[in-house]
């Protein structure tokens, strides 16, 4: 069987030979940065390569929803591939979707920067349009502005999980915490773009705020139980901590419970980034002081919209800031602002 497979694989035409060489009729030249262009075909099928999984993650579910709405509006077919945070899975999905030739455009939400090279090569070879969502493609989460968009891609949709957003988040936390504080930062794994963006933001903000000290950085695997245990132990080991800054809602849930289990309710102020309905509930109950909103639905919508527009020759911004939500606020939502806030997820 494998012999057959191999033989056919070997004899098959090289993909470079087929299809999209030259500027044939019906294609549009699209600028993808760094002086490169793509001969874009009219977009009929879009693949959305999602880093997480819709199934276990409401944020991802909101992403899917946004992308579906845009797909309906622009009359394109959308297929969603979920990597479930597994690096290899996303790599393989990318390879399979690229080589299948079925998709003229893709939204990529990288799990980590490791699909960078593959996307850039894929663009050259298959002349597909790509927008990147959330985390940057080539690991430049700690930069800002148009630099967030990698060469080869149409645009980058995000902001909240990159340095600009993290910077705003941290500043907001500090602004609401007058006086001297020792804070614990609850983060994802060391490698994640968000974590790196957070650290970059810290370097920008913290030196100007000597009273606000981050005394603990706790890395987790993004899961609630992990956050629960680690925060419990960390608070035990460092009893002076009075602020927790959580990078994500699943982590917040664990942190809140850990505080409760130690009987420290009310003594530790929790800030978080997320802004989903679970977060709103936690703010409402007073367990979390404020939640910094993110806009998964808008961002996926904007990502797909950018692809369609670019393929029609319209110019789209390289960096679509604030997750593509035009009203995206860069401040946390404490309890008193909840009435005017509608969560996207």
């Amino acid at each position: 069987l494998a012999v057959i497979a191999l033989a056919t694989a070997a004899c098959g035409t090289s993909p470079d030979a087929g299809g999209s060489s030259g500027s044939t009729a019906g294609t549009t030249k699209v600028d993808v940065g760094d002086g490169q262009t793509v001969n874009a075909k009219p977009v009929r099928n879009v693949a959305f390569l999602m880093g997480g999984s819709v199934a276990t993650n409401e944020y991802a579910a909101a992403l899917a929803k946004g992308a579906k709405e845009a797909a309906e509006k622009y009359g394109v077919d959308l297929s969603i591939f979920e990597a479930n945070f597994d690096i290899n899975t996303q790599y393989n999905q990318l390879q399979n979707t690229l080589t299948s030739g079925k998709y003229q455009a893709m939204i990529v939400q990288p799990t980590t920067p490791q699909v960078c090279k593959q996307v850039q090569q894929g663009v050259k070879r298959y002349q597909v349009l790509i927008t990147v969502l959330g985390s940057t493609l080539c690991g430049q989460d700690d930069s800002s502005g148009d630099e967030l968009a990698s060469p080869g891609t149409v645009s980058f949709v995000g902001g909240m999980y990159n340095t600009p957003g993290q910077e705003a988040f941290l500043k907001d936390c500090i602004a609401h915490s007058p006086g001297k504080h020792q804070a614990l930062a609850l983060l994802g794994p060391e490698y994640f773009g968000t974590t790196k963006a957070w650290k970059a933001a810290g370097k920008l903000v913290l030196p100007d705020n000597p009273d606000f000290r981050i005394t603990r950085e706790v890395n987790t695997n993004w899961s609630t139980p992990d956050a629960f245990k680690r925060v419990q132990d960390a608070l035990q080991g460092a009893p002076d901590i009075d602020v927790i800054i959580s990078a994500q809602s699943d982590l917040t849930k664990g942190a809140v419970r850990a505080i409760k289990s130690l009987g420290r309710e009310g003594k530790i102020r929790v800030y978080e980034m997320g802004g989903g309905k679970d977060s709103v509930a936690l703010v409402q109950s007073g367990e979390v002081y404020s939640t910094f909103p993110t806009y998964p639905k808008s961002s996926a919508y904007a990502a797909l919209e950018a692809l369609v527009k670019a393929s029609k020759g319209e110019t789209v911004p390289r960096f679509i800031d604030r997750d593509g939500n035009p009203n995206g606020v860069l401040e946390g939502i404490p309890a008193d602002k909840l009435s005017s806030y509608t969560p996207e997820w």
Binding site: V54, A55, T56, N57, E58, A61, E190, T215, R216, E217, N219, N221, S223, T224, P225, F228, K229, R230, Q232, D233, A234, Q236, G237, A238, P239, D250, K253, G254, V256, R257, K260, S261, L262, D278, A281
Partner: protein, 335 residues
Amino acid sequence: MTVDQMASTTPATTDSHASRTKNTPTAVALHILTRYPMVWVALALAIAARIAYDGFLDPQNLRNILSQNAPLALIAIGMTFVMITGSFDLSVGSIFAAGAVVFASFDGKLSADLALLIAVAAGAAAGLLNGILITKVNINAFVATLGTAAAITGAATIYSGQQALLIKSMSFGVVGSNLIAGIPIPVWIALVAFVVAGFLLSRTVYGRAVYAVGGNDEAARLSGMRVGLIRASTFVMVGALSGLAGVLLASQIGTAQPDFGASMALDAIAVVIIGGTSLLGGEGSIGRTFTGLLILAIINNLFQSLAFDPALQQMIKGFIVVAAVGLDSWARSRR
């Protein structure tokens, strides 16, 4: 020589008969220490932890250690049974997460007790599936439980309606967080489970049968035991305990997701092996599992309480575990 005389001779080789020789507390303690080097290791680690970290013996810290590890304890207890029959179960992490999801899904719909029972029953059912696949369909335990793990996680995900389930009602938080006599309920549950399981293994016909099946299943079959049934029952047990562990966690942290238990299976097996129960079956005990759990729990607590570079943490943890087990194997070879 009479049997009564016998009962007071040379140290025993089976656990169940150990420490019966002289019954003064010091003699028993000494006996345990020389026979079970891992008890030494646990003790040494505790002392090291106390030196490195002032708050280690703080009642609150001890309470944290115990309650954080209660779910793992339950699963490791079940795993001890499975491993004594010479098998193992990689699906416990999935069952654990599924148990949490099932429990949380009834929040506001049923009473917490009923939800707990349903979650435990779901875990037992998953265990039964494993047991049937392994003993009736004769599928290798590794593949069978890896396969059911995937299937169970998938099912739990679909069941959860694709979202993290939040527990809102107070009553659903009781079993995970409330204290009885100053000790969290999960810790009580784990302690009761240790005692019951220890009794079951060493003092009942069922326990002996578990050892016999693991010691030589052909011999057990020839002497008329229902080898399949016994082995399957251990899977049901670990399934039910994993479901219960999931309930405790969900209640503790107030939320449930189908991807909770990723490393649970390997952790549980590691706990059992570090304690000194072998993968070959026919030997082991609940006391050993308890020791193994202590060792891992102390290391984790120490590292997480001190702000320790996670990479270095991981490295050192690996070394400690290997060194501890190496010491155990050395001590055994000297006996």
